[in-house]
Amino acid sequence: MGAISLIALIIAAVLFSAGGILLGKILVKKSYNPQKGQAYECGIPTQTSPWQQFHVGYYLFALLFLIFDVELVFMYPWAVVVKKTGMVALFEILVFIFILFMGFLYAHKKGALKWS
């Protein structure tokens, strides 16, 4: 089967999940009180909203990750042909990695990996 199978799988997943949840909804008798609707925090009403801004350090890490993840994607096609191409391919990828590594060193030196 071709790409159509993905749609089939998504339908399967939705059916599986929705089926379970719906079945639960049908079988369960609902009840409600305000305490039940509260978020769980060890039995104490929540103080301060959890929906807050996050530390900027977090995004720096994510950005760095993104760079290297994209690098990885570049390396997959290379990995397929490296055996046929031989030493040239190896040399080229070393150059590629070297450049990225310098970038990484720069980021490291700039303190992007330090949580402060």
Partner: protein
């Protein structure tokens, strides 16, 4: 009951700070300790313990109980070393009344204390390992603990709150199987303690999570009044059994376990090695229980003279002090229990500040807090 939305509006000015409640219903607090933690990301900025969920005011209760009765209330304080609590209180009465305890009772008291200490440390080992995410050590530790609780049940009819001690000796004599059962336990335990070491001590994940976490320096440990394994993990020489020997501790050979690092791993090591020392004491005494009375002859109603009396014993958690002010009546005028957990808890904020929330669990686990002991 106020709604959540209100609270969130109230504290909208504390941007970037996450206030999170750990407890009273939390898997890691082992009881109803309530910590309000202020976080920046995952870094702890402030810890505020809220106590009193199971405060029973035992001190007030004891003021209306007689000198024979109040001892049994103390079993409910540090329920994991209830026998040693009883011992501390009985000591106080014996000291004030100048009762001479028979040698047999003394040896049995020490034996039971050491068994209690091992049982308490076993439970701590299992619970602490669970705090750090490992489930298996819990079952291993409880397998041996079960043997001890069975011995306790044979001896005094209870598994947790023993109430085996009366002023002047013991409630009853030993069970005939006692020696044999304790020997069987010692034999198995010696074999199994290496198993814990393999499972926990030598585990790289454990070591990484505990080394350098929750460091308490020697000066701070003294200043915060930390005793027991917490103090000894920081290098404070604070074992009451060595400093102020009571019962027969001055006649048996054992080492005071001291570590100097002051981190969670040091406290962990102190407890594990202490179990071995307890076994050493038990081995020395189990074949040498002298014959004789198990109880001194005392009056039916105890009336200590007017004055103030302070005694201390080493429980599994540290120095347990009993301070009684007597007016010469049948009930104490004022009782103060100096519980080790209360002082150890006060050091928690100092130890955990600036560390990650995951490290807090390691720190709290190695403090070995028992909540009724803190709340009283």
């Amino acid at each position: 009951m106020y709604s959540q939305t209100e609270i969130i509006k109230d504290t909208s000015d504390t941007e970037g700070e996450l206030v999170i409640n750990v407890g009273p219903q939390h898997p890691a607090t082992h009881g109803v300790l309530h910590l309000v933690i202020t976080l920046d990301g995952e870094t702890i900025k402030k810890i505020e313990p809220h106590l009193g969920y199971i405060h029973r005011s035992i001190e007030k209760m004891c003021e209306s109980l007689s000198y024979r009765q109040f001892i049994y209330v103390t079993s409910r304080m540090d329920y994991l070393s209830s026998h040693i609590n009883n011992l501390g209180c009985a000591h106080n009465v014996e000291k004030s009344m100048q009762i001479e305890v028979p040698q047999r009772a003394k040896v049995i008291r020490v034996l039971m204390s050491e068994l209690t200490r091992i049982a308490s440390h076993e439970l701590w080992l299992g619970a602490m390992a669970m705090d750090l995410g490992a489930f298996t050590p819990f079952f291993y530790a409880f397998r041996e603990r079960e043997m001890i609780t069975e011995i306790m049940e044979d001896t005094c009819g209870a598994r947790l709150t023993m109430n085996y001690i009366v002023p002047g000796g013991l409630m009853y004599d030993l069970h005939p199987d006692f020696q044999q059962k304790v020997k069987a336990f010692v034999k198995q335990f010696k074999h199994k303690v290496t198993e814990y070491e393999d499972l926990v001590t030598n585990n790289v994940i454990f070591q990484n999570r505990m080394k350098g976490v929750g460091v308490l320096s020697k000066e701070d440990a003294i200043s915060y009044g930390c005793t027991g394994p917490v103090g000894r993990g920081s290098g404070v020489h604070c074992d009451i059994r060595k400093i102020f020997p009571y019962e027969v501790y001055d006649t048996v050979e054992f080492d005071e376990v001291l570590e100097t690092a002051g981190d969670s791993f040091a406290r962990y090591m102190v407890r594990v090695r202490e179990m071995n020392q307890s076994i050493r004491i038990i081995e020395q005494l189990i074949d040498n229980i002298p014959e004789g009375d198990f109880q001194a002859k005392t009056k039916a109603v105890l009336k200590p003279p007017k004055g103030e009396f302070y005694t201390r014993v080493e429980t599994a958690r540290g120095e347990f002090g009993v301070y009684i002010v007597s007016e010469g009546g049948t009930t104490p005028y004022r009782i103060k229990f100096r519980s080790p957990g209360f002082s150890n808890l006060s050091a928690l904020e100092h130890m955990a500040k600036g560390s990650k929330i995951g490290d807090l669990m390691a720190t709290m686990g190695t403090l070995d807090l028992v909540i009724p002991d803190i709340d009283r």
